[in-house]
Amino acid sequence: MSSSSLISRRAEAGDRTGLRWPWPATLLSIILLAVAIVLSLAVGARFIPFDEVVRSLFGTGDQNVLNIVGELRVSRTITGLLCGVALGAAGVLMQALTRNPIADPGMLGVNAGASFGVVAGLATFGALGVGGTVWLALAGAAAASAVIFWFSGSRFAAASPVRLVLAGVAFSAILGGATQALVLTDERILDVFRFWRVGSLTARPAEEVLGLVAFVIVGAVLALLLAPVLNLMSLGDDSAIALGVRPGLVRALGLVAVTVLCGTATAVAGPISFLGLVVPHLLRRVVGPDLRAVMPLALVVAPAMLLLADTAGRLIGRGAEVQVGIVMAFVGAPLLIAFVVGRRRAGLS
């Protein structure tokens, strides 16, 4: 305690107080991710044995396999990794910032905002590459998350986490209605939009997706930096201020991070809900509420889960594949119900 400045005291309190790094969980997460990546490369309409996958990754082996793995599956695996990281981090951030255990960027309307931005862009400018789409999605996501944070700060949501989610659902519905109105004016938009909307990892070619890696990295780094401070904020604004945190600044940065992450993920893969809900929950169960552990692990577990969902979708459909957004809805919605039913007696009003 050499320095008495507020910043370092914050660092003292936030960064070094008794976090025992959960090594077993970390190891498991990494193994899970590795398995998910391999499965994502190997499984599909045509199953490819592991050794051939490895060989084709180094550019040798059967030409057909090279095409499938190289062109299609590597591309969607990269997309999955990117979106998984983005949505996982955004989910943890959102739940921490709104102090709401059932917040999810998808349900709260951030993705709906991004969708609206994209469709408005499609309607105005015609077809767009991912470069243009991402800015529109970011603009839409920014507007929507600003509204959501305004909701969560108001007195009415402070009393009940469920109410914030409902407000988000209503807000999504309004945005959805406006989006529908635009989509239905033009059959071409609908044709693009109906595939984009279900959330699919094959919507974009890999080169376009790689252009967005920077966005996700910025968002993820911001999220990691915010994690220790958000720990302190979980005690409430007053305590956080006493510990040297500036809640306004943290919220603003968090808002930026959520916007960048969700906007990018939505621009790439369409609106995927529930991933941001499920992953933080799972992790809190395993490693406890400390965000310094939850946040980094979410960056590993979320892409693993998204890839597994995508792989499952390929198998369920038997050729006609089920998009990953749909699979996630089937995983996430029952979990939400279980949570709501289970928490009833805990006085969640």
Binding site: R163, V169, I174, T185, E187, L190, A333, I337, V341
Partner: protein
Amino acid sequence: MTALLPDDLVLTRRRWSVRASRRTLLCAVAMGLLLLALGVTALMVGEYVVTPEALVRTLVGDPPARLDGFFVLGRRLPRALVAIVVGICLAVAGAVFQTLTHNPLASPDVIGISSGASVGAVTVFLVWGGSIDQATLGAIVGAVVMAGVIMLLTARSGLHGVQLILTGVALSAIAMAVVDYVLTQVFVASATTAQTWLVGSLQGRGWSDLVPAAAALVLLVPVIASTAPAVRMMPLGDQLATALGVRVTRARWVLLICATLLVAVAVATAGPVSFVALVAPHIARLLCGRTSLIVAGLTGAVLLLASDLLALYAFPAPIPVGAVTITLGGGFFLWLLFREGARRG
């Protein structure tokens, strides 16, 4: 409530009597007049304008021009009637659900019953290539299944308040995921048709669409009305009401089934038009101070007809009526949430 309020009207004939509050009657009459005015507007305006005189002559069976007859009798009248009937179905169902659950937010569209109906109808329509009538059956099956699932979850955990709503929202999400998947599996033309239907649209609705909805209304509303005495006793609590000779459980089941069927028929006719079922009973309650099925039904009809007129003429190109109701109704839902929150503090 033995002593009648001074402003209650009592009509007595031999063995039965009817009591109605003046305010409710006034509201009903006002809503009826508003509905009539909107209906006349709907018949007259459009790209082909029908003059009042021509309208009257057309309606009595002597159209001055063939086009008058075509537009008024062939197009606009059935569409307006469908809007009115569907509006009444949705609003009555919404009022019943809100009363049964003691939950101002629990309308069938919010808790997922409309989504269930959508899944049923879309599956029959797109996957099995069924006709509209079969799609209606599909919608009924879907709605009933969804209501059953919600009841199961509710019965086991005794869900109340916002939990019920959130459970419905989650179930809705699953249902809509199924619908979205089906939509990606068909050609774009069918997808467009289905998509328009899924938002809720009255485009091209004719006399044949009117029949099932009107039949459901005529059959089910008397049944719902017959449970009114039981419903009035429910606030006393189940035990006291049962002791007073009211079959509470039976009344609840009858109401639930009737309301679910009304929703299913409405959804099969016009698609899952959102938020009318939520909003209409609230407006009716604000106006007349109590839950009146008649006023709620008329309000629903007014809302849907007015929204349809907006959807047709307020934008550069006609849009589905559901896009209007979801935007207006979503705002109303938010306002309700805020008000509820403010009350609880």
